[in-house]
Protein backbone atom coordinates (compact mmCIF):
# COMPACT_ATOMS: atom_id res chain seq x y z
CA UNK A 1 0.00 0.00 0.00
CA UNK A 2 1.43 3.38 -0.97
CA UNK A 3 1.57 6.04 1.75
CA UNK A 4 -0.06 9.29 0.73
CA UNK A 5 2.27 12.22 0.33
CA UNK A 6 1.29 15.68 1.53
CA UNK A 7 0.77 18.11 -1.31
CA UNK A 8 2.13 21.28 0.26
CA UNK A 9 4.71 21.62 -2.51
CA UNK A 10 2.05 21.42 -5.23
CA UNK A 11 -0.16 23.97 -3.50
CA UNK A 12 2.82 26.21 -2.83
CA UNK A 13 3.30 26.68 -6.58
CA UNK A 14 0.05 28.64 -6.67
CA UNK A 15 2.01 31.45 -5.04
CA UNK A 16 4.41 31.49 -7.98
CA UNK A 17 1.52 31.24 -10.46
CA UNK A 18 -0.11 34.26 -8.81
CA UNK A 19 3.09 36.29 -9.20
CA UNK A 20 3.60 35.24 -12.82
CA UNK A 21 0.00 35.88 -13.84
CA UNK A 22 -0.07 39.26 -12.11
CA UNK A 23 3.24 40.39 -13.62
CA UNK A 24 2.43 39.31 -17.16
CA UNK A 25 -1.06 40.80 -17.11
CA UNK A 26 0.19 44.07 -15.63
CA UNK A 27 2.90 44.37 -18.29
CA UNK A 28 0.41 43.55 -21.06
CA UNK A 29 -2.14 46.04 -19.73
CA UNK A 30 0.47 48.80 -19.43
CA UNK A 31 1.74 48.06 -22.94
CA UNK A 32 -1.75 48.20 -24.47
CA UNK A 33 -2.83 51.35 -22.65
CA UNK A 34 -0.02 53.72 -23.60
CA UNK A 35 -1.53 56.58 -21.60
CA UNK A 36 -0.82 54.73 -18.33
CA UNK A 37 2.36 55.92 -16.64
CA UNK A 38 4.08 54.19 -13.73
CA UNK A 39 4.02 56.48 -10.70
CA UNK A 40 1.49 58.92 -12.19
CA UNK A 41 -1.54 56.70 -12.76
CA UNK A 42 -2.90 54.25 -10.22
CA UNK A 43 -3.34 50.56 -11.04
CA UNK A 44 -7.09 51.11 -10.88
CA UNK A 45 -6.82 53.37 -13.93
CA UNK A 46 -5.88 50.28 -15.94
CA UNK A 47 -9.09 48.61 -14.76
CA UNK A 48 -11.13 51.54 -16.05
CA UNK A 49 -9.26 51.88 -19.34
CA UNK A 50 -11.10 52.27 -22.67
CA UNK A 51 -8.82 49.71 -24.32
CA UNK A 52 -8.34 45.95 -23.86
CA UNK A 53 -6.00 46.73 -20.98
CA UNK A 54 -9.09 46.65 -18.81
CA UNK A 55 -9.58 42.92 -19.50
CA UNK A 56 -5.97 42.06 -18.68
CA UNK A 57 -6.09 44.01 -15.46
CA UNK A 58 -9.53 43.03 -14.17
CA UNK A 59 -9.44 39.36 -15.10
CA UNK A 60 -5.72 38.72 -14.93
CA UNK A 61 -4.25 41.00 -12.29
CA UNK A 62 -7.30 40.90 -10.05
CA UNK A 63 -9.49 37.83 -10.43
CA UNK A 64 -7.13 35.05 -11.45
CA UNK A 65 -4.41 36.32 -9.11
CA UNK A 66 -6.94 36.47 -6.29
CA UNK A 67 -7.95 32.83 -6.84
CA UNK A 68 -4.31 31.71 -6.82
CA UNK A 69 -3.58 33.72 -3.68
CA UNK A 70 -6.63 32.27 -1.95
CA UNK A 71 -5.48 28.72 -2.75
CA UNK A 72 -2.01 29.58 -1.48
CA UNK A 73 -3.47 31.04 1.71
CA UNK A 74 -5.54 27.88 2.18
CA UNK A 75 -2.39 25.79 1.75
CA UNK A 76 -0.52 27.86 4.33
CA UNK A 77 -3.35 27.41 6.84
CA UNK A 78 -3.65 23.69 6.19
CA UNK A 79 -0.01 22.66 6.08
CA UNK A 80 1.77 24.95 8.56
CA UNK A 81 2.11 23.96 12.18
CA UNK A 82 2.32 27.40 13.76
CA UNK A 83 -0.74 29.47 14.58
CA UNK A 84 0.86 32.59 13.12
CA UNK A 85 1.11 30.83 9.75
CA UNK A 86 -2.52 29.76 9.95
CA UNK A 87 -3.57 33.33 10.76
CA UNK A 88 -1.42 34.62 7.90
CA UNK A 89 -3.08 32.21 5.48
CA UNK A 90 -6.58 33.22 6.56
CA UNK A 91 -5.72 36.92 6.28
CA UNK A 92 -4.32 36.34 2.80
CA UNK A 93 -7.57 34.62 1.79
CA UNK A 94 -9.55 37.65 3.00
CA UNK A 95 -7.24 39.99 1.05
CA UNK A 96 -7.69 37.78 -2.01
CA UNK A 97 -11.47 38.07 -1.74
CA UNK A 98 -11.21 41.86 -1.79
CA UNK A 99 -8.77 41.71 -4.70
CA UNK A 100 -11.31 39.64 -6.65
CA UNK A 101 -14.01 42.19 -5.90
CA UNK A 102 -11.73 45.00 -7.12
CA UNK A 103 -11.72 43.29 -10.51
CA UNK A 104 -15.52 43.17 -10.47
CA UNK A 105 -16.26 46.67 -9.18
CA UNK A 106 -13.88 48.84 -11.15
CA UNK A 107 -13.16 52.53 -10.73
CA UNK A 108 -15.74 53.53 -13.33
CA UNK A 109 -18.61 51.68 -11.63
CA UNK A 110 -20.90 54.21 -9.96
CA UNK A 111 -18.99 56.99 -8.24
CA UNK A 112 -15.93 54.81 -7.68
CA UNK A 113 -16.37 54.91 -3.90
CA UNK A 114 -17.04 51.17 -3.63
CA UNK A 115 -13.88 50.49 -5.60
CA UNK A 116 -11.85 52.76 -3.33
CA UNK A 117 -13.26 51.07 -0.23
CA UNK A 118 -12.46 47.61 -1.59
CA UNK A 119 -8.94 48.73 -2.55
CA UNK A 120 -8.29 50.13 0.95
CA UNK A 121 -9.59 46.95 2.58
CA UNK A 122 -7.48 44.80 0.29
CA UNK A 123 -4.41 46.89 1.06
CA UNK A 124 -5.03 46.68 4.80
CA UNK A 125 -5.50 42.91 4.87
CA UNK A 126 -2.55 42.35 2.56
CA UNK A 127 -0.36 44.45 4.86
CA UNK A 128 -1.61 42.43 7.83
CA UNK A 129 -0.94 39.19 5.96
CA UNK A 130 2.63 40.25 5.16
CA UNK A 131 3.28 41.06 8.84
CA UNK A 132 1.80 37.72 9.94
CA UNK A 133 3.81 35.83 7.32
CA UNK A 134 7.00 37.50 8.60
CA UNK A 135 6.15 36.17 12.05
CA UNK A 136 5.32 32.77 10.57
CA UNK A 137 8.70 32.55 8.81
CA UNK A 138 10.37 33.41 12.11
CA UNK A 139 8.42 30.76 14.04
CA UNK A 140 9.04 28.15 11.34
CA UNK A 141 12.79 28.52 11.89
CA UNK A 142 13.31 30.31 8.55
CA UNK A 143 14.55 33.54 10.08
CA UNK A 144 16.39 34.67 6.97
CA UNK A 145 13.12 34.68 5.01
CA UNK A 146 11.63 37.17 7.45
CA UNK A 147 14.14 39.74 6.16
CA UNK A 148 12.22 40.17 2.91
CA UNK A 149 8.83 41.23 4.32
CA UNK A 150 10.49 43.44 6.96
CA UNK A 151 12.59 45.28 4.38
CA UNK A 152 9.64 45.58 1.98
CA UNK A 153 7.40 47.01 4.73
CA UNK A 154 10.01 49.57 5.84
CA UNK A 155 10.61 50.66 2.25
CA UNK A 156 6.87 51.00 1.58
CA UNK A 157 6.39 53.08 4.74
CA UNK A 158 8.96 55.57 3.46
CA UNK A 159 7.41 55.58 -0.02
CA UNK A 160 3.98 56.16 1.50
CA UNK A 161 5.30 59.12 3.50
CA UNK A 162 7.26 60.74 0.69
CA UNK A 163 5.58 59.85 -2.62
CA UNK A 164 2.11 60.06 -4.15
CA UNK A 165 -0.54 57.32 -3.99
CA UNK A 166 0.11 56.06 -7.52
CA UNK A 167 3.80 55.51 -6.81
CA UNK A 168 3.06 53.85 -3.47
CA UNK A 169 0.47 51.55 -5.03
CA UNK A 170 2.74 50.52 -7.88
CA UNK A 171 5.71 49.84 -5.59
CA UNK A 172 3.45 47.89 -3.21
CA UNK A 173 2.56 45.59 -6.08
CA UNK A 174 6.23 45.26 -7.01
CA UNK A 175 7.17 44.61 -3.37
CA UNK A 176 4.60 41.82 -3.14
CA UNK A 177 6.49 39.82 -5.77
CA UNK A 178 9.66 38.96 -3.76
CA UNK A 179 7.48 38.44 -0.70
CA UNK A 180 5.35 35.82 -2.51
CA UNK A 181 8.47 34.07 -3.83
CA UNK A 182 9.82 33.82 -0.28
CA UNK A 183 6.44 32.69 1.07
CA UNK A 184 6.29 29.96 -1.59
CA UNK A 185 9.79 28.81 -0.67
CA UNK A 186 8.87 28.72 3.01
CA UNK A 187 5.79 26.58 2.32
CA UNK A 188 7.80 24.21 0.14
CA UNK A 189 10.37 23.79 2.93
CA UNK A 190 7.73 23.35 5.65
CA UNK A 191 7.22 19.86 7.06
CA UNK A 192 3.44 19.73 6.80
CA UNK A 193 1.17 18.87 9.70
CA UNK A 194 -1.66 17.78 7.39
CA UNK A 195 -1.55 14.48 5.59
CA UNK A 196 -3.72 15.49 2.59
Amino acid sequence: MLASKPHNVAFAWFGVIAVVVFSICWICAAAIDTTWVFGENTLSDLGASDSDAKMYFNYGCCMVTAICLAIFGFATTTYSKSRSASAAGITLIIAAVFLFLIGLFTKDVGTGDLHKTLACLMGFFMFLAVCLYAGAFWNNGHEAFAAVPVIVILALIVIFATQNLATFEAWSAVGAIPFMVVATTDLILTKPKAKI
Binding site: E143, A146, A147, V150, I153, L154, A155, I159
Partner: protein, 119 residues
Protein backbone atom coordinates in the same frame (compact mmCIF):
# COMPACT_ATOMS: atom_id res chain seq x y z
CA UNK B 1 34.68 27.64 22.26
CA UNK B 2 37.03 29.28 19.77
CA UNK B 3 35.55 32.39 18.19
CA UNK B 4 34.89 31.68 14.50
CA UNK B 5 36.35 34.00 11.88
CA UNK B 6 32.83 34.84 10.73
CA UNK B 7 32.02 36.28 14.16
CA UNK B 8 35.23 38.32 14.29
CA UNK B 9 34.58 39.65 10.79
CA UNK B 10 30.95 40.50 11.58
CA UNK B 11 32.04 42.37 14.71
CA UNK B 12 34.61 44.33 12.72
CA UNK B 13 32.09 45.16 10.03
CA UNK B 14 29.60 46.31 12.65
CA UNK B 15 32.15 48.72 14.08
CA UNK B 16 33.12 49.88 10.60
CA UNK B 17 29.49 50.48 9.71
CA UNK B 18 28.94 52.51 12.86
CA UNK B 19 32.01 54.66 12.31
CA UNK B 20 31.11 55.18 8.64
CA UNK B 21 27.55 56.21 9.60
CA UNK B 22 28.85 58.82 12.01
CA UNK B 23 31.26 60.05 9.33
CA UNK B 24 28.38 60.36 6.87
CA UNK B 25 26.45 62.31 9.47
CA UNK B 26 29.22 64.92 9.50
CA UNK B 27 29.90 64.74 5.77
CA UNK B 28 26.33 65.25 4.65
CA UNK B 29 25.35 67.75 7.31
CA UNK B 30 23.62 70.75 5.80
CA UNK B 31 22.10 73.45 8.02
CA UNK B 32 18.73 73.61 6.30
CA UNK B 33 15.16 72.37 6.76
CA UNK B 34 14.91 68.60 6.90
CA UNK B 35 18.49 68.12 8.05
CA UNK B 36 17.26 66.82 11.40
CA UNK B 37 15.74 63.77 9.72
CA UNK B 38 18.99 63.07 7.86
CA UNK B 39 21.06 63.43 11.05
CA UNK B 40 18.62 61.29 13.02
CA UNK B 41 18.65 58.44 10.49
CA UNK B 42 22.45 58.36 10.19
CA UNK B 43 22.67 58.35 13.98
CA UNK B 44 20.07 55.58 14.22
CA UNK B 45 21.95 53.42 11.74
CA UNK B 46 25.24 54.09 13.59
CA UNK B 47 23.66 52.99 16.87
CA UNK B 48 22.25 49.85 15.27
CA UNK B 49 25.64 48.96 13.79
CA UNK B 50 27.44 49.43 17.13
CA UNK B 51 24.77 47.38 18.90
CA UNK B 52 25.09 44.62 16.31
CA UNK B 53 28.88 44.65 16.74
CA UNK B 54 28.38 44.25 20.47
CA UNK B 55 26.34 41.12 19.87
CA UNK B 56 29.41 39.46 18.32
CA UNK B 57 31.57 39.67 21.45
CA UNK B 58 32.13 37.22 24.27
CA UNK B 59 29.11 37.31 26.60
CA UNK B 60 27.30 39.51 24.09
CA UNK B 61 23.97 40.94 25.11
CA UNK B 62 21.73 39.19 22.59
CA UNK B 63 20.68 35.75 21.47
CA UNK B 64 21.33 34.81 17.85
CA UNK B 65 17.75 35.46 16.75
CA UNK B 66 17.58 38.89 18.34
CA UNK B 67 20.89 39.91 16.74
CA UNK B 68 19.60 38.67 13.38
CA UNK B 69 16.39 40.65 13.77
CA UNK B 70 18.28 43.85 14.62
CA UNK B 71 20.47 43.30 11.57
CA UNK B 72 17.39 42.84 9.38
CA UNK B 73 16.00 46.10 10.79
CA UNK B 74 19.29 47.83 10.00
CA UNK B 75 19.15 46.66 6.39
CA UNK B 76 15.53 47.74 6.10
CA UNK B 77 16.16 51.18 7.55
CA UNK B 78 19.16 51.82 5.29
CA UNK B 79 17.19 50.67 2.24
CA UNK B 80 14.19 52.80 3.22
CA UNK B 81 16.38 55.86 3.80
CA UNK B 82 17.98 55.41 0.38
CA UNK B 83 14.56 55.24 -1.24
CA UNK B 84 13.35 58.26 0.73
CA UNK B 85 16.50 60.13 -0.30
CA UNK B 86 17.48 60.76 3.32
CA UNK B 87 20.84 59.10 2.60
CA UNK B 88 23.19 59.90 -0.25
CA UNK B 89 23.09 56.99 -2.71
CA UNK B 90 26.80 56.17 -2.51
CA UNK B 91 26.93 56.31 1.31
CA UNK B 92 23.73 54.30 1.53
CA UNK B 93 25.08 51.68 -0.86
CA UNK B 94 28.24 51.24 1.25
CA UNK B 95 26.21 50.92 4.45
CA UNK B 96 23.83 48.47 2.78
CA UNK B 97 26.68 46.28 1.56
CA UNK B 98 28.23 46.23 5.07
CA UNK B 99 24.88 45.31 6.63
CA UNK B 100 24.23 42.55 4.09
CA UNK B 101 27.72 41.09 4.69
CA UNK B 102 26.99 41.01 8.44
CA UNK B 103 23.65 39.31 7.68
CA UNK B 104 25.33 36.62 5.59
CA UNK B 105 28.06 36.05 8.19
CA UNK B 106 25.43 35.73 10.89
CA UNK B 107 23.63 33.00 8.96
CA UNK B 108 26.73 30.78 8.86
CA UNK B 109 26.27 27.62 10.97
CA UNK B 110 29.49 28.33 12.91
CA UNK B 111 28.28 31.81 13.84
CA UNK B 112 24.90 30.53 14.96
CA UNK B 113 26.48 27.76 17.03
CA UNK B 114 28.94 30.16 18.65
CA UNK B 115 26.32 32.74 19.56
CA UNK B 116 23.93 30.16 20.95
CA UNK B 117 26.67 28.61 23.06
CA UNK B 118 27.74 31.95 24.53
CA UNK B 119 24.36 32.53 26.22
Amino acid sequence: MITPNGIKTACGLGLLGGVFSVACLALYFKPEDGSLAVIAFYMLVAVLFFATAGAFTKNGQWKWRVALFVNILTIGIIFACMIGEFFAMDAGAVLLVIAIFIFVLELLPSSKAWMQSEI
